[in-house]
Amino acid sequence: MKYVIVGIGGQGILFTSKVLGKIAIDKGLPVIGNEVHGMAQRGGSVISHFKVGDYRSPLVSEGHADVLMAFDQNEGIRSLAFLREGGTFLVNINEPCALENAHLKKHLSDKKIQTCPFLGYEILDRHMGGNYLFLNVLILGAASGMKAEGLEEEQVAAALKELSPPKHLKANLKAFELGMKVINP
């Protein structure tokens, strides 16, 4: 299983890969991945690679990711080359017409990519008092809603319970539910 997670520095991407890691470890599966710290993380494009299984290197090659999780539509589109044919593309969009570009639509259909766009900011505005820090858990909720590559609701929720700081646990579980509802309203 190979994930690529992209977004903008400061969006809380690292927490998402920690949750994915916890789930894999609980299943007894080996994990290796790479994250971005330092200058590169400061408000710029960031990318996390994450592999579950018998791998040695932390990096996902282009065309080999099973799932691409994008916290930002532009970063997501720029990173689509990582996704394999038939892969899953979860993308937080801030402009409803983000995926309307004709070339983009052709690419997504040619490569049989399962696309799941959602208006994360709008959902968080409506239900979480506009606190965008919960975007990372929202996207995890959407991923488990899609059952992306075997992510089960119970496992994700259990990992969230263990990894959330106590003061954010309730809100994180709510954001997770909201993410699930994106897929199964």
Binding site: I25, N34, M39, G43
Partner: protein
């Protein structure tokens, strides 16, 4: 089997350092090495280990303290990034010749790419320069395993051992067993022996040949006893290609070969690039008709071969001489050596979309609400024609606001200002110079330059952007704060103003970085003082870093569309992620995804008054 956890490479290294009985651990933060020392402190706290864990004011300070602990018999460790080793080069080069007592581990983390560095230099080269053994891990778990072996090697031969992780080791997470115990350290008793601990020329004449013999012995050991790090992944049958690979390049190559299902490529993993286990490598190359060398970033393995013409590598341009060896780069090189063309997936539609949508990588930038943004705006506004040297850290991002002209190295803001002053003086000119550097950088290497500038009467303004932590590397404490890594350990805070006055600076003032008007006035005053008295003036811009999440007043702002004339002044000189330019409307608008309602932009950024604080009851 013990408990497993998903650890960052730097955390895996750190717990191995504690487990190995390290008694003194020092560091100066720098990406990608920064997390090692805090993780050593956390692990020592968890296990109750007696390790003394400290940040040095810079890497030279940190290294010297660690190696002296080894003189006294303690197991020691110094951690830094590759450019930090440049700062510590002096004690590293001379310490290399010593017959040390306690084990001495140097962790120097490299940054191929680079992702967060001003050079792409290779610390293995530095190890070769100093003739000290170097271990090059291929993943976090191996990096952790190497720590214990590094201490054994160091104590057996009395030599510094370098562990050289790269960004893809330091910042990778891997399932690693959690350390539950630690070895007792070595007895500490400094034995006086001036000849051993003071490298006078007569001593060095004996020490250098001894050092040479020692490194030759280590080379033999690497060839014979270090099979766990220097090992072959054989091909099935006759190999079409033999690849010598070190570090993460080995891991990437293995994954690629597995992915392709290929077994006609033999790989020799080299985990000890210096001294090179030449017998192994030369034999491997001789056994293969075609051979290739993959290592990051310089040709260190290559250059140690007696005849490198027998293998492809950097010397003949097969491997690029700059940049990271990413999977796609290695794929291209390996397949081309096999006489095959990589099957590039067709992404023409995607490329066309990216072009049409004008999507480019997002540049690093100061956080919304960052006090540095306000400081830079004030600095630039005060004296627009001033030369603005800056430094290494978040404030190098002042380039986005056109408020940074140079960034040479740590502490360079001060000495570069001196150089500009001297160059103008030589031609009878005085040009305003307003430099900026951070609080931690001020202590790191700003002080010697400042002292020198006072002594030599150099006129410039030095703005110290004090945000109460070392921000770029993730928020470490520094001498100005007095915090220390281990629980219940407190240091003494050295205020920036006191340090500046102690260097003889006659103008020292502090302003709240958020008060841009007062900041600009203070810059003008400081420059007048500097010019009149031919001396450096120090101005501290103070406000906590946004990463500290100190509660502060929320001042929601709004862009008044009728007043905005689309001049882009706020975009070009304030450069906040909360303000974006709408190319269609030709007006600035608020990006609520990033705005943190710090209110700075409403305090006089827009020359036309188009950015204003929202009145109560109004909505965005």
């Amino acid at each position: 089997m013990g408990k497993k956890a998903l650890l960052l490479g730097n955390e895996a290294i750190a717990q191995a350092v504690v487990a190995a009985g390290c008694q003194v651990a020092t560091a100066y933060p720098g990406t990608p090495s920064s997390e090692v020392l805090p993780a050593i402190a956390a692990c020592a706290d968890r296990l109750g280990a007696p390790t003394v864990v400290e940040w040095g004011a810079n890497e030279k300070v940190a290294f010297e303290a660690a190696i002296a602990a080894s003189f006294a018999g303690a197991r020691a460790c110094a951690v830094m990034k590759q450019v930090g080793l440049n700062v510590a080069a002096d004690p590293f080069m001379s310490g290399a010749l010593f017959q040390l007592k306690g084990g001495m581990l140097l962790i120097s983390a490299d940054d191929p790419g680079p992702h967060s560095s001003q050079t792409e230099q290779d610390s293995r080269f530095f190890a070769m320069f100093a003739k000290v053994p170097c271990l090059d891990p291929s993943d976090p778990a191996e990096a952790a395993a190497m720590v214990k072996d590094a201490y054994t090697l160091s104590e057996k031969h009395g030599v510094i051992v370098m562990l050289r992780p790269t960004t893809r080791v330091s910042h990778s997470r891997q399932t690693v067993e959690v350390v539950e115990g630690f070895e007792l350290g070595t007895p500490v008793k400094f034995e006086k022996d001036a000849e051993r601990w003071s490298p006078l020329p007569a001593t060095v004449r004996r020490a250098h040949p001894h050092h040479n013999t020692r490194i030759t012995r280590i080379q033999k050991e690497f060839e014979v006893d270090w099979g766990r790090y220097n090992r072959e992944r054989p091909a099935k049958g006759k190999a079409a290609l033999g690849v010598v690979a070190g570090g993460v390049a080995f891991s990437i190559l293995c994954d690629l070969l597995d992915e392709w299902g290929r077994d006609d490529v033999a790989v020799l993993k080299v985990g000890t690039p210096y001294p090179l286990p030449s017998a192994l490598v030369e034999d491997f190359i001789a056994r293969h008709e075609k051979a290739l060398i993959l290592e990051e970033i310089y040709p260190v393995i290559e250059m140690q071969l007696l005849n490198r013409a027998k293998a492809d590598g950097r010397w003949n341009g097969v491997v690029p001489s700059a940049g990271e060896l990413l999977p796609e780069v290695i794929e291209r090189i390996v397949l081309s050596r096999l006489g095959e063309t990589p099957s590039e997936p067709d992404v023409s539609e995607l490329s066309a979309a990216v072009e049409e949508l004008k999507l480019t990588p997002r540049k690093p930038q100061l956080c919304a609400g960052c006090p540095h943004r306000a400081s830079f705006f004030a600095i630039r506004r005060a004296i627009p024609k001033a030369i603005n040297p800056s430094d290494i850290g978040c404030y190098s991002l002042g380039v986005n606001q056109k408020a940074v002209d140079t960034a040479l190295c740590m502490g360079g803001a001060v000495t570069v200002s001196s150089g500009f002053y001297m160059a103008h003086k030589a031609t009878g000119q005085t040009h305003p110079i307003v430099a900026a550097l951070g609080d931690s950088t001020f202590f790191h290497m700003g002080l010697p330059g400042l002292l020198s500038a006072v002594y030599n009467k150099h006129a410039f303004v030095l703005c110290v952007l004090d945000n109460s932590l070392t921000a770029m590397t993730g928020g470490q404490p520094h001498p100005g704060l007095g915090g220390k890594p281990r629980k219940n350990d407190k240091g003494t805070a050295v205020p920036i103003e006191a340090a500046a006055r102690g260097c003889g600076v006659s103008f020292v003032e502090a302003v709240d970085a958020y008060s841009m008007g007062a900041g600009a006035e203070a810059v003008k005053r400081a420059w007048e003082h500097a010019k009149t008295h031919s001396t450096p003036a120090v101005l501290v811009f103070r406000h906590p870093c946004m990463l500290l999440r100190v509660p502060q007043e929320k001042i929601p702002v709004t862009v008044l569309e009728d007043k905005c004339i689309g001049c882009r002044y706020c975009i070009d000189y304030f450069a906040c992620p909360g303000l974006v330019f709408d190319e269609e409307k030709r007006k600035t608008s608020l990006d609520i995804r990033f705005c943190v309602s710090c209110g700075i932009c409403a305090a006089g950024v827009c020359p036309h008054g188009a950015i204003a604080a929202q009145k109560e009851g109004e909505s965005a």
